[in-house]
């Protein structure tokens, strides 16, 4: 008798010809970018609030951050629109407010965030005299904490958007992905702010931003580490294989540990200004790359996870 083992079909967990149960996300670079920028916007929202209004350098930071956050908030929908199957129907998102839909809330969060950020920018410009001074009144004081609140939501929702799906990998990170998204968002935002401040020559705030970045980065690492443990087999597409290595290289080592080290050096040693600027630039760029790769890895791992019928048969609670 010839060997028939390869003809045997019955396995412990039957699958349907190893075909996927779930449909993979149709999400490419544009959604990755959207989520990445969403995180940054969130972080910037926090920074614009906590920067001290009385200290001139921090005032300046506040102004830069507000303008940047508004530009991002205004531009991000455009990126989302490039992803839509029927882009001309973007406004249909504003037809309803669906509390159960992270996507709906997220878009509304983005819209309101743009509004708050916009108002805060108007205020900045009015203070600067670019706009009539009375226009300050368009942005009452509570808009700053509001932008921060909306920012926190925006950063967090990009995580919930993934984790509250049927995707087994994403679902396995129902706490970790949102938390990591917030951390990564703030780290990236701090990095961006450091970068901008360096370019502006506003060096005084850079160390504070770097400290914030270190805290956020460290938190992100801790969360990812715990995520790996908690996700178990569901996490394989993210933590294992080529994608795991990529995550380790770009997000963990290059994107978090390296900036952490560079920032520590910056905190501990007083470097000459040009060299310090290079250090800051490098650390910030690495953090931003790490943040982007994190989002990209999440999306790509989600696609792979969707293709695994066994993971989809028993979806994480």
């Amino acid at each position: 008798m010839p060997d028939l083992s390869e003809c045997r079909e019955r396995d412990d967990v039957p699958t349907y010809y190893e075909r996927p149960l779930l449909k993979a996300p149709h999400w490419e670079w544009n959604v990755v970018t959207y989520l990445f920028l969403g995180g940054i916007m969130g972080g910037l929202g926090l920074i614009q609030l906590i920067a001290h209004p009385e200290r001139p350098q921090e005032r300046r930071l506040k102004r830069t951050v507000r303008i940047t956050s508004f530009i991002l908030a205004a531009g991000n929908p455009a990126i989302l629109i490039t992803h839509l199957g029927r882009p001309e129907r973007f406004l249909n998102m504003l037809r309803i407010v669906k509390i159960k839909s992270p996507m709906s809330l997220g878009v509304w969060g983005l819209v309101l965030y743009s509004g708050a950020a916009g108002a805060n920018v108007v205020r900045e410009l009015a203070i600067d005299g670019v706009l009539p001074r009375w226009m300050r009144l368009l942005a009452p004081g509570f808009l700053a904490p509001l932008q921060a609140l909306l920012g926190a939501f925006t950063a967090g929702y990009t995580g919930v958007l993934l984790s509250a799906t049927a995707n087994p990998f994403w679902g396995s990170g129902k706490r970790h992905i949102p938390a990591a998204s917030v951390c990564s968002g703030l780290a990236s935002a701090s990095a961006l702010a450091s970068l901008l401040s360096t370019f502006e020559g506003n060096h005084a705030v850079v160390h504070k931003l770097e400290r914030l970045e270190m805290v956020a980065g460290a938190a992100e690492l801790l969360i990812l580490n715990d995520f790996k443990r908690a996700a178990g087999a569901y996490g394989a597409p993210f933590f294992k294989g080529k994608r795991g290595e990529r995550l380790l290289t770009y997000t963990v080592v290059a994107g978090t540990l390296a900036p952490l080290a560079l920032n520590l050096i910056g905190q501990a040693v007083k470097l000459p200004k040009p060299i310090d600027a290079v250090r800051t630039t490098l650390a910030s760029a690495l953090t931003l790359v790490g943040g982007y790769v994190l989002r990209e890895s999440l999306i790509e791992a989600g696609k792979e996870s969707a293709r695994d019928p066994r993971a989809a048969f028993r979806q994480p609670r």
């Binding site: 926090l46 839509l84 129907r89 926190a152």
Partner: protein
């Protein structure tokens, strides 16, 4: 009133009339011509343009002495029209609604193709209908007298780039007609009707089969767990759900939202405090 499907796989003869009747009524294109070598199944899965799919599962002993344990299972899959539907909850435009017949319906004129419902379906049902490619062979809508279909602008053609799935023949139900698949099904493996009645019938059927020595189970007639509740399209199976490419433990995605928002909030709060201390400490 809520209507639904009871698909009794013990009556299915695998003819795929449901697939064709569905495509005919809904004017859906073919999904391409691919020989899979996987039993008699060459359409493989539900898609944005295949709203009924018959699975074929061969369970044959290797060295045949013609024993009766040999089985060839066939089962027509479809959108479950869940009590709590992941896609319905996820849809940010309100394109997905629960209609007056209890079905989950995608309004193609509202959908903007964001694809969030696709990842929110625990059963892998919804998918995006890709844009019509006149040069490609992927969709052969062209072979269905395009000009006439163009003139009438059917749901599918206007909907390039939107999500597609079973409508439970909403447009037929409005006329008092049963869905195309249930109507075509020669052996009444697909039964359509009032859900209470169907569930009663299904439970009775399981008992009758058990008297005949056939062990059968219902899938989705009652709460499937995970927050989804009962399915408005449920199934009678004679093997474990995975055999038919159905999840044994589906979970409603939105049940993960509280944990997610909480975790995000805690993280945000923690970092905000840290930031506050960094910036506000002189």
């Amino acid at each position: 009133m809520a209507n639904g499907f009871f698909t009794d796989t013990t009556l299915c003869i695998g003819c795929k009339a449901c697939e064709v009747a569905c495509k005919q009524w809904n004017e859906l294109p073919s999904d391409g011509f691919v020989f899979t070598g996987e039993s008699y199944d060459n359409t493989s899965e539900l898609s944005g343009t295949t709203w009924r799919h018959v699975a074929f599962v061969e369970q044959m002993a290797i060295d045949h002495q013609g024993e009766l344990q040999d089985r060839w299972l066939m089962s027509s899959d479809v959108c479950k029209h869940c009590t709590n539907a992941g896609c319905h909850e996820a849809c940010p435009t309100g394109a997905i609604i629960r209609n007056e017949f209890g079905a989950v319906f995608i309004q193609p004129d509202v959908c903007n193709g964001c694809g969030y419902c696709v990842v929110s379906c625990p059963f892998g049902v919804v998918d995006l209908i890709e844009k019509f490619d006149p040069d490609g062979t992927h969709y052969n809508l062209a072979s269905l007298a395009t000009s006439r279909l163009d003139a009438r602008a059917t749901a599918v053609q206007q909907s390039g780039g939107v999500a597609g799935k079973c409508t439970l023949c909403y447009d037929r139900q409005r006329l008092g007609f049963v869905p195309a698949c249930a109507k075509a099904c020669p052996t009444e493996s697909i039964q359509f009707g009032d859900l209470d009645e169907l569930r009663e019938r299904a439970h009775a059927r399981v008992e009758r089969l058990s008297e005949r020595g056939v062990s059968a189970q219902l899938y989705g007639a009652d709460d499937v767990g995970g927050g989804i509740g009962a399915l408005n399209a449920f199934f009678l199976l004679t093997d474990r759900p995975e055999t038919y490419n159905l999840p044994a433990q589906p979970v409603l995605p939105s049940t993960r939202q509280p944990a997610g928002y909480t975790a995000a909030a805690v993280a945000a709060l923690g970092l905000a405090l840290a930031g506050w201390m960094i910036f506000r400490n002189a």
